[in-house]
Amino acid sequence: MRFDLSETQQLLKNTARKFLQAECPMAEVRRLMETETAHDPVLWSKIAAQGWTGIVFPEEYDGLGLGMVELAATMEEMGRALMPGPYLATVPMAGVLLDAAASAAQKRKYLAPICRGEARAAVFEGGLFAQDLGVADYLIQADRRNGALELVLWPASAVAAKPMPALDLTRRLYEVAITNPAAGELLARGSEAQAALDHMYDVATTALVAEMLGGMQRVLEITVEYAKTRKQFGKPIGQFQAVQHLCADMVLLVETTRSAAYYAAYALQEKLPEAREAVSIAKSYASEAYREVGNRGIQIHGGMGFTWENDLHLYYRRAKASEILFGDATEHRERIARLVLGG
């Protein structure tokens, strides 16, 4: 029994951290967030060269064929680095949906280019927005037509993407309009489409939780570092019990979220019957924990934490967007209740 990343998985994670420290430091994050799309093609091609764009997809479509735990470990590092751009939309969302729903021919046509880093994609289920649609090469729409759920793929040329300014500056939201209704290609329909969509949400939610975990871990580290060096009343503020206890709370929030996040990834990977519950437990935890870690981190930083130049608010903005995405804590607790209590 070993409930921890294996040596292999830890090596992957360490390498991802070093890659992102060099290729996507905070200066780069701040540069990209001031651009129109927060996406950098060069960074994307480097990510692709790491294999990350195909990490969980079969080798026959140029994927790396690794599992959920490896995806989670990698996304944890992306969240730690606050990596901007369309990774979440492209890989754990659109890619997973294609892998689950498309025919072999369609996968060769649409999934393989994603794996190779040549294409980006987005998903839209008829809510308020599609994430990072502005840099997508195609959009997969989940739509109820003629009484059945359909998954339809639209090329970018058939879709208008109108930017929607929002709190998170590193990952962009777009309003969706289909401009050429004839250009859609059906991927799946009915119960098959529903199963693929459900699976995609489980995977994407777990990936998002791992990313949130990395973010909150980083907020904790930045804050502890600050508490050790910032002096008030002639002492490092980390010597004040009030600050220590806020930091200890942050450790609890991070470590419990880590347990839930890793287990959700493992349970999905192993197709355990409790996987769906594990995903909702993880998201209900992470949704509140990331925000609360952000609250405590900024509070401990005092006025400094409230400035634009301090990085914490960039994490805080991501935390808020992530809290909402794929259902907030309340929605996931109701999902847990349905599994445990029925009704």
Binding site: K18, K228, A260
Partner: protein
């Protein structure tokens, strides 16, 4: 090409937008060759499975089917305790007491994971506890680590068999969170120590033959330095045990009074004035094994309150559903965080500050949980044991009160948060 931080890492290597500098991509084979193929694995290993199955088979044979009724039917506290001693004897003969102890001392040299399997299996089977909980869990391991051959020979076997029951004398009225401030004194007198003192929050004192104590032997030394770990015969003249009534009304604990108690010098464990280090080792063991069965206990209570919520209709109330789902998630996250901690200790061999994180979590969870239970039960929540309307013989009213102690006992949440801040995060000492 996989990112190689040694060969790269300079921003100068980042190409201009639009170019494609990395057109060779890695394969799964490349990845496996470079990083290996180990994976996270929550399954038990074959030896662990064998251990579990052997235990299950033994329990199947030996666990009294209706021990709770048998036990409840016994009148006096002493008779009930004798029942547990007999159960421990049986377990001992089966080789299931002190499984983590080295084979030389009557154990099996079981791994931490096997210990946890044992604790969980016992909880799942609702088996009775052993009589000598503190002897087996705390004093024995400390004796193994610090005792001399004579002490090991004298004490260890009788701890396992339950022939001699142990208690522990650490806390004092003026030494709670600040344990090192304790004032019970043992003065050297030839080949004996003369002990005077007062201990509180002692478990099993009324049943114990021996007490493992921390006492002050050098009042001049700085407070952590003048302490000695002493093994005291509870049948010595001058030892008095008084029940300590707690806010629930029960007397789960005792106070111990020592007046002019003569303790042979050979009963010092470790070195004189080095008792603090010996005691810390005991406390580490306490935090390591304590609570391994708690997630099962919580889960059982959770399932029961769900039943009651279904029965009174509250299970359909969206507010109650939120609260129950949160409790469910908390129990699961507690179990998982404990598994991660066990994995880490099992690999490093050293108990760490993870125990403080778990302690804070479960104690605060249980207070939330009991509050949720009381909201579900409504007016019935306040009914205590002696009443026919009282759900589950008043266990919920009792549980509500008892949980209040959780964030105080075995290290207050405040002390635990200091430990996390200082030993996990490396923040400076706050006082």
């Amino acid at each position: 090409m996989l990112y190689d931080p040694e060969a790269c890492g300079q921003s100068a290597q980042i190409a201009a937008p639009g170019t494609k500098p990395f057109n060779k991509r890695i394969s799964r084979q490349w990845y496996d060759d470079r990083f290996g193929t180990t994976r996270m694995d929550l399954n038990l290993s074959p030896p662990e499975i064998q251990f579990r199955d052997e235990l299950r088979a033994w329990l199947e044979q030996n666990l009294p089917r209706n021990w709770k009724q048998e036990h409840a039917a016994l009148g006096a506290m002493e008779e009930k305790f004798a029942y547990l001693r007999r159960w421990q004897k049986k377990l001992y003969e089966g080789g299931w007491v002190g499984v983590a102890w080295p084979k030389d001392y009557g154990g099996r040299g079981a791994s931490l994971i096997e210990q946890v399997i044992l604790i969980e299996e016992m909880a799942r089977a609702s088996a009775p506890p052993v009589a000598n909980v503190l002897g087996v869990g705390l004093v024995g391991p400390t004796l193994i680590a610090y005792g001399d051959d004579a002490q090991k020979k004298r004490f260890l076997a009788k701890i396992l068999s339950g022939e001699e029951i142990w208690c522990q004398g650490f806390s004092e009225p003026n030494a709670g969170s600040d344990l090192a401030a304790l004032g019970s004194e043992a003065r050297r007198d030839g080949d004996h120590f003369i002990l005077d003192g007062h201990k509180v929050w002692n478990s099993y004192g009324w049943a114990a033959d021996w007490c493992a104590m921390l006492v002050r032997t050098d009042p001049q030394a700085p407070k952590h330095k003048g302490l000695t770990y002493l093994l005291v015969d509870m049948h010595s003249p001058g030892v008095r045990v008084r029940p300590l009534r707690q806010m629930t009304g029960e007397s789960e604990f005792s106070e111990l009074f020592f007046q002019n108690v003569r303790v042979p010098a050979e009963n010092v464990l470790g070195r004189v004035n080095d008792g603090w280090n010996v005691a810390i080792s005991t406390l580490m063991h306490e935090r390591n094994t304590l609570g391994a069965n708690l997630h099962i206990v919580f889960k059982r209570q959770f399932d029961r309150i769900v039943e009651l919520a279904r029965a009174n209709g509250k299970a359909a109330d969206p507010l109650v559903r939120q609260k129950l789902a949160r409790c469910r998630a908390d129990i699961e996250v507690f179990r998982l965080t404990q598994m991660r901690a066990i994995t880490r200790v099992n690999q490093s061999g050293v108990p760490g500050p993870e125990g403080s994180i778990l302690k804070i979590f479960w104690s605060e969870f249980n207070q939330r949980f009991q509050q949720v239970a009381s909201e579900i039960l409504g007016p019935y929540a306040q009914l205590t044991g002696e009443c026919e309307h009282s759900p589950d013989e008043g266990q919920w009213a009792y549980g509500f009160l008892r949980a209040r102690g959780n964030t105080i006992e075995a290290g207050t949440s405040e002390v635990q948060r200091n430990i996390v801040a200082q030993f996990v995060l490396g923040l400076p000492k706050s006082y």
